[in-house]
């Protein structure tokens, strides 16, 4: 009980001191040391936070400050939960995950076929290059040019599996690039 009171006193003192001698760096270090002991004392926390960035900025080489840029929504849109349409513009499912390769490039999108009231929901990984993105009314529309019924019949995606079954377009894309292989 006594020691806690003492710590609190010290914290109070150091806070007062900190306010008075905020400019004096040596004093500041002393105050910080005291605060290190009394971290748990609520009253001192605000002060600790206010002063913490100062020493942290010292030893580390200056990181590049972030630059703020505003991008059109059509150039940077959220992907998860987006509907995926088939060739006849029917919704076939929603994107629930994106699978990447070692370079961080998207390899496949996991599309969830909804089923009926959630029964019969299936997750199928579809090769990234099988997805077509287009713009309609300030909105990115995702389309996949494969038969939805055949797509849904593919082996389901399983997070824990060693090999990932990825559905890739059979004919149309093969001249340009080889079909996607499982890693």
């Amino acid at each position: 009980m006594d020691s806690r009171a003492a710590i609190r006193d010290r914290a109070e003192a150091s806070r007062a001191a900190g306010q008075r001698f905020a400019a004096d760096r040596r004093w500041l270090c002393g105050a910080l040391a005291a605060l290190g002991l009394s971290e748990a004392v609520g009253g001192a926390r605000a002060f600790a936070q206010a002063t913490k960035p100062a020493p942290a900025a010292k030893p580390v080489p200056k990181p590049v400050p972030p630059k703020l840029e505003h991008v059109q929504k059509t150039h940077a849109e959220s992907l998860l939960g987006q509907p995926v349409f088939d060739a006849r513009r029917q919704t076939i499912g929603h994107i629930v995950d994106v699978l990447i390769d070692t370079e961080g490039k998207p390899h496949a999108a996991v599309i969830e076929f909804t089923g009926f009231l959630g029964v019969g929901a299936r997750k199928i990984a579809v090769a990234w290059k099988a997805l077509h993105f287009s713009l309609r009314k300030d909105h990115i529309v995702i389309r996949v040019a494969m038969d939805p019924a055949a797509l849904r019949a593919m082996p389901a995606y399983d997070v824990n599996a060693k090999r990932v079954p990825v559905a890739a377009p059979a004919r149309s894309a093969s001249p340009k690039s080889p079909p996607a292989k499982s890693p």
Binding site: L80, G115, G120
Partner: protein, 415 residues
Amino acid sequence: MASRRSLYGLDWLNFFVANVQTGFGPFVAVYLTLHRWTDLQIGAMLSLGTVVAMASQLPAGALVDWMTGKRWAAAMAIGAIGTAATLFVVLPTEFGIGLAEILHGFASCMLNQAIAAISLGLVARRLLGERLGRNARFASLGNGLSAAVMGISGYYLAGTSVFVLTAVLAVPALVALSTIEAGTPAPSATARGKPARQSLRELGRLILDRRLLGFMACIAFFQLADAAMLPFIGNRIAAGGGHIANLVIGGAIVLPQLVVAGLSPAVGRAAERYGRRWVLLVAFAAEPLRAILFAAVTPALALMAIQSLDGVGAAAIGVLLPLIAADIAADRGHFNLTMGAIGLAAGGGAAVSTTLAGWVDQMVGNRAAFVALAAAGLIATLLVWLIMPETGPGAPPSAHAPAARAGAQPVSPSS
């Protein structure tokens, strides 16, 4: 005796409550996906729902036993479920959905039990089987109809519409509840439920009652066989059903409900005439049969037809779970606590079911998973045959409940 008005009110209460409950199921996962939840978050939320539902069974039972106004218990539960549906619409954050799942888990247990207790208070003991059959009929009609409507509206409209509909349907449920008369003398010997004084010893005897333990074991294995079958078969239809897959899955959900609606009153009457045990035996035997057929058959439409066998088991459970609880409670009191214990066993079996079937599916294959489910169903049937005593009033007085029969005459709404 209860007025006709009250009995019709109870019909509609069952109907609308089933409506309200339909949205909270596998659809929750789809709904959260639309709100950009990741699989990990969704999985955690669904587990939370399961855990709460399991943990609530006994406390909810004890609470409903303790409350003298069973209609109030039902009203509170419906309100809570309506609130949960509203939360799904307006606050789809982790906090909102978590709260909704907790509310819904507890309230569902409570509502189930309150409706059974209200039924028990409305009809004479010998008519209870038929009454519970009617309850199950209207509940499954509600389930089937709302599954069809919600499935279609969720498909064509925003996913939100399902939960808006759910929240709105809580209102007619409350209206139906209000038409059940206040004067109805509640819970008789059975649901009076408070042998009070030496209640701890009474509880101990209840827990060790052979009929309760036997039925808990039977129903746990039944659910172990049953729970995974619809999701598994839904997945298979989805994969092989071509362009009409979703329609066929819808059929696989709605058809069994129609079977339940058709069968339930007959199940209730049969349970009164031939005894609970025989009805259980016949209905449980349909379970391994269904699983084996699933293992053997491939075409989507055939799978849908076989799934309607699910209605047989579902009708039996819907009627016999509260009926057997009432039988046991006729001697021991604590009607809702008894229901809670049985519900706990059922929930345990169901929770293990999908995990078990999924594991066998991965290790061996899809057909093997159904064979495993069939084995569980067979065990459930054998358990009924071997360890489940007859609990009905017509049964020869069992050694475990010598004084029982005295309390088992038609439980007239005394006073």
